[in-house]
């Protein structure tokens, strides 16, 4: 079974947007044991679309087409497929009704151009899109099944998971003998991790992959075939041993997700006072529904005045030690915890850059504290000064990891491979 992908859209081809749909699609299919063998990206010209549809129809068994199903004049995928097949476009009455319902439900008037979205090539099978106005469809041409999906990422992803993968499994004989495990790491570079994990003799059918997802490296352990799957636990034990403290979560996309799952439903509460991370700690938690049950508040106290007035940091602490100091960040954590008597509080203060560094405290210097009802833990770390965003996201991750370790009863302050730490 040969799978290919065709990405359409001038903005994708012209690089105005980076094609994250393509990467997501290939790695999602990989997790189902299906490799994508070629990807062609074309713009919004009708003749280009027709020529690539015709050409690839002779080479692939199934082709996922992404984009070009919208209502505007540069959305041409449907028309191009009809031309390729030599078919007329026919209004799909089911989808027309859905469109009318959709606009009524959302209290909006349907534009005339939206009616175009109910037109499908005569031989097409309609594919439902429960979350948008572009319906998908599937058409067989020459050797290939073409499966058309909308470009909007959340509509696309839902359609792939709920419709495309079952469609592929139904039409082709896909064995499900694949397994994937994911490990989230913090504080080691990709090459350092790879050097370490190369010590493992991987059983046949087993591969290790690395994916950089700033500030984390995600490690993927993939096994194909019953024999390889049977040995996964053994391989995993070796990975855990070799990773040590760098391993911060299993099967999670971020430390925020890990913290959310550790706190939600426990009755424990958290307050956050952020300076350099600027709301990133609170914001990453608030992404998860239900976070209001444990997150009391998250205060971004950017100015010294705010640290004094809102958190009760002593002016003389700021004068004597500076805003980026163990003393200040400890008072921030204790202060924000006290306001609502939360169980835990995190506080950060640092120099995210690009300006603001000194010889003593260069860009990338960040103080982080965790206050509990019993006391306060703190450290001052030195992060790579590569970018403002990296300093902020690494600081956020280290703060979460301190809380994670406390919640699991482990030592709160540890050494990470590639993150420096100032002596107290």
């Amino acid at each position: 079974m040969k799978l290919e992908m065709i990405c359409t859209g001038e903005e994708v081809l012209a690089g105005q947007i980076v094609d994250t749909n393509a990467a997501w699609f290939a790695s999602t299919m990989m997790e189902h044991g299906i490799e994508c063998q070629r990807r062609v990206t074309v713009g919004d010209r009708l003749e280009d679309l027709v020529s690539v549809f015709e050409e690839r129809s002779h080479h692939a068994d199934i082709i996922l087409v992404n984009g070009g199903l919208g209502p505007t004049s540069d959305d041409l995928s449907t028309e191009a497929m009809a031309i390729t097949k030599g078919e007329v476009l026919v209004e799909n009455s089911v989808w027309r009704e859905r469109l009318e319902d959709w606009f009524t439900r959302n209290g909006r008037v349907m534009a005339a151009s939206n009616l175009k979205q109910a037109l499908l090539p005569a031989s097409a099978l309609m594919i439902d899109n429960p979350v948008g106005t572009a319906c998908g469809f599937a058409v067989k041409h020459n050797r290939a099944w073409f499966f058309f999906t909308p470009g909007v990422p959340f509509e696309f992803k839902q359609m792939v998971v709920e419709q495309f993968i079952p469609f592929v499994k139904q039409h082709f004989n896909i064995t499900g003998d694949v397994a994937l495990r994911k490990y989230l790491t913090l504080g080691q570079g990709e090459s350092a991790l790879a050097d370490e994990l190369e010590k493992i003799e991987l059983p046949e059918g087993t591969t290790l992959g690395y994916r950089s997802s700033m500030p984390h490296i995600e490690i993927k352990l993939f096994a194909r075939g019953k024999m390889a799957i049977a040995q996964l636990d053994k391989v995993e034990a070796q990975i855990r041993f070799l990773l040590g403290n760098a391993l911060v979560a299993d099967e999670k996309k971020s430390l925020a997700e890990e913290i959310h799952s550790l706190l939600v439903g426990t009755g424990l509460t958290l307050s956050v006072a952020e300076s350099c991370t600027g709301g990133m700690i609170a914001s990453q938690l608030i992404d998860f529904p239900g976070s209001s049950s444990y997150l009391d508040h998250g205060l971004v106290t950017y100015s010294n005045e705010s640290k004094v007035k809102v958190l009760g940091v002593k002016p003389e602490t700021l004068d004597d030690h500076g805003a980026v100091s163990i003393a200040t960040v400890e008072e921030m954590a204790k202060g924000v915890r006290a306001i609502l008597d939360s169980d835990y509080a995190l506080a950060t203060s640092g120099i995210a850059g690009p300006g603001g560094g000194t010889d003593e405290k260069p860009v990338g210097t960040v103080a982080i504290a965790l206050a509990t009802k019993g006391g306060v833990y703190s450290q001052m770390i030195r992060l790579p000064r590569r970018s403002r965003d990296l300093v902020r996201s690494l600081s956020t991750a280290v703060a979460f990891d301190m809380l994670r370790r406390e919640l699991l009863g482990e030592a709160v302050i540890i050494d990470y491979g590639s993150i420096g730490r100032f002596k107290k």
Copy 2:
């Protein structure tokens, strides 16, 4: 002149890395007036590479190939091109010397595998790579010039700018007569915008494009040729007129960027109190270096207790009107502004979902207030309940737009096409 790109590498095809080289390349070429017309992404299989080289050699005039020039066994681009041309690989003595120098200079011993990097197809022109061990090369095959570049982004980019673009300009007659303008919109769907802007009769050589960048739609006006460029101002005036309030910024990626540029360096200050947006307002501003000069603090007061204790919201206001109400959000804005006597304050409180809605206040109901030294503006809006993230990002955008309009001396509260508003 027809330009295409071939991206190679299993990790790009399989989505383990997102192909940022491709997006960068296409948009860089676009700035030089050269459109990339197709992009094919293939893995590291020799037969796939040979087949795509042969195939595209009949269709394009120039093909940039990225990746597969490294020293390892899965770097096969050079070998594949030699097979395609039916040529042998020949050691390039200039590059061999450069390799030896390079390793000596970096104090490292050259691995035997690196010698492979001095092998080029017999008819290839060597292309210098001053910053790495992979040399580029150019080969003519059938209709096309193939231009091979390394996958490492900073080596790739330097080679494109210093070698590839001059190569293209030397071999083909390229005029640089292109111009691009961008407009950021809020509150109208893509199809509604397109319906409106279709009224404009575009001069020849002028195209309009739409790009969804939640919660905004970006409109791109592209002109090719002296005549089209000369008429851009006239077209732009029509766009401005037709967009009306939906147009919120020019040449900016987000309203946060617009607000940042309006506030930075003015001495004006801003405080933020967020509930449903959960730090997104503050966080989007803090992404910009220099935001500390105007952002006093951003308080995420998620719980009612926190609204009372930190912001001074009256408990009876919460009891009488609820947390999501005009009365509460006005007290939040006034409260957070007063703490540090900031010039402006924004406050949000709403139901981001998926749970927590009622008949009277369904998911998507959001109250937003802007407090100034002179008074307070507020509104309660009703957003599409499609996703928690959309509710939060639209609320953030509307809040920014209220502040933007105030800073520009325009009416603060307006109607947006697709955003409902509750009567007070």
